[in-house]
Symmetry: C2
Subunit: 231 residues, 2 copies
């Protein structure tokens, strides 16, 4: 009965649950952490024991309810445990509607682009060598056709939204900031973008990295290196 009332995070190395681990550390609450490791780059089957989709993160609430989806988990954690209103936006334009819009933009539109990018990187690394030039050719055509332009517009939009403030939700990170780290890290660590073209986003990421809670999340997790992972 030791864990009654306690949250449990099911975490996976080199994955999107790192941002939830970071948020839990920012909130400074007590939680149980279950570390899972990828097997051949895929989530291990034990993650299916608690949710049919078998992915991470999963947040298990004290009453046994299992939450999936980073954006939902982050909203739940902030709504429930951010009693000092540190991560809900600091007023003015940084309101709940902006929180929702930027979170959805990051978790839907931006995420789609990094997943398509990662998919082509994985295809290139996993197809027989004689097919690779064609995969590269398709990926180049897609980049020229829409992908590069769309990602550029997205990162410029994010930079405009960061204008005049340290984080997307103001002086402290909010839900969209937590969500953006994994998306940005995919673009950057996998060399899908030239990060020097987006100095405002780069400075934002360094600001997140420097936070003690982010550092603790790296120490408590079991690895976060997207460049070392091909799909």
């Amino acid at each position: 009965m030791a864990n009654v009332g306690k949250l449990t995070l099911l975490h996976l190395n080199n994955s999107t649950s790192q941002r939830i681990l970071w948020l839990l550390e920012e909130l400074g609450i007590d939680y149980e952490l279950k570390l899972h490791k990828r097997i051949h780059d895929r989530a291990p089957s034990e993650l299916k024991e608690t949710h049919p989709m078998g992915k991470a993160p999963q947040l298990i609430l004290a009453d046994g309810r299992v939450l999936i989806e980073s954006s939902c988990i982050a909203k739940y954690l902030i709504d429930t445990y951010d009693t000092e209103n540190k991560f809900k936006g600091d007023g003015g334009r940084n309101d709940a509607l902006r929180d929702q819009m930027l979170s959805d933009f990051i978790a839907s539109s931006m995420s789609t682009n990094f997943i398509v990018g990662v998919l082509f990187l994985a295809l290139a690394s996993r197809t027989p060598f004689f097919v690779r030039p064609l995969v590269s050719g398709l990926w180049k055509a897609m980049r020229a056709g829409y992908w590069d332009d769309d990602v550029d517009k997205q990162l410029k939009f994010i930079e405009a939204e960061l204008e005049g403030q340290d984080y997307l939700m103001g002086a402290s990170p909010g839900r969209p900031d937590f969500l953006l780290t994994f998306v940005y890290d995919n673009f950057h660590q996998r060399r899908l973008i030239d990060a020097s073209k987006y100095p405002v986003a780069k400075a934002w990421r360094e600001r997140c990295e420097a936070r003690p809670a982010w550092k603790r999340s790296l120490e408590k997790g079991n690895g976060y290196d997207l460049s070392d992972f091909d799909g």
Copy 2:
């Protein structure tokens, strides 16, 4: 000054904004509708005049604020105009947390799969004929490697969530139901799935189709035929 206080929906044919048009019709509120047409399957440039991402839907609020992202727009509309609480879930397990989780699941995880599917259909139709067998081969390999299995798990999860109720949020549709229509229609109309394998989802879609508000949304829009569109 005729439109002070009025919402404006920027709508695009054969697109995700059809589900917002449906929701506006369900709410029975007064709004202005601006119809835009795709040019060579792409959103026209005038959509950039109101938001740098240049996409639809965009909801322009009375104070000039521009909302993007279907999930955010749907939440805003229901939070603001559903004064009789018809679309917020009917209690019990159909609560706000479920609304958020299913909405995020549909707008992030499920959407990613249909976008990857549509991308390969578009690649196959747009590459020179001698490249097509290879594109088909890659797509087949991806389907066998993860895509078919992941989409199957997602649709089975949705069917389990529909168990014993007409809509994902209970007796009436809620935000996840509005969002799911476009995702389901992409899978189904583009023949990415065998819809007969998912009878519960099929019945749910027919229930949505039969609603007078959905029918009005089709009449007011300027076309919604995903099978006739290659990317």
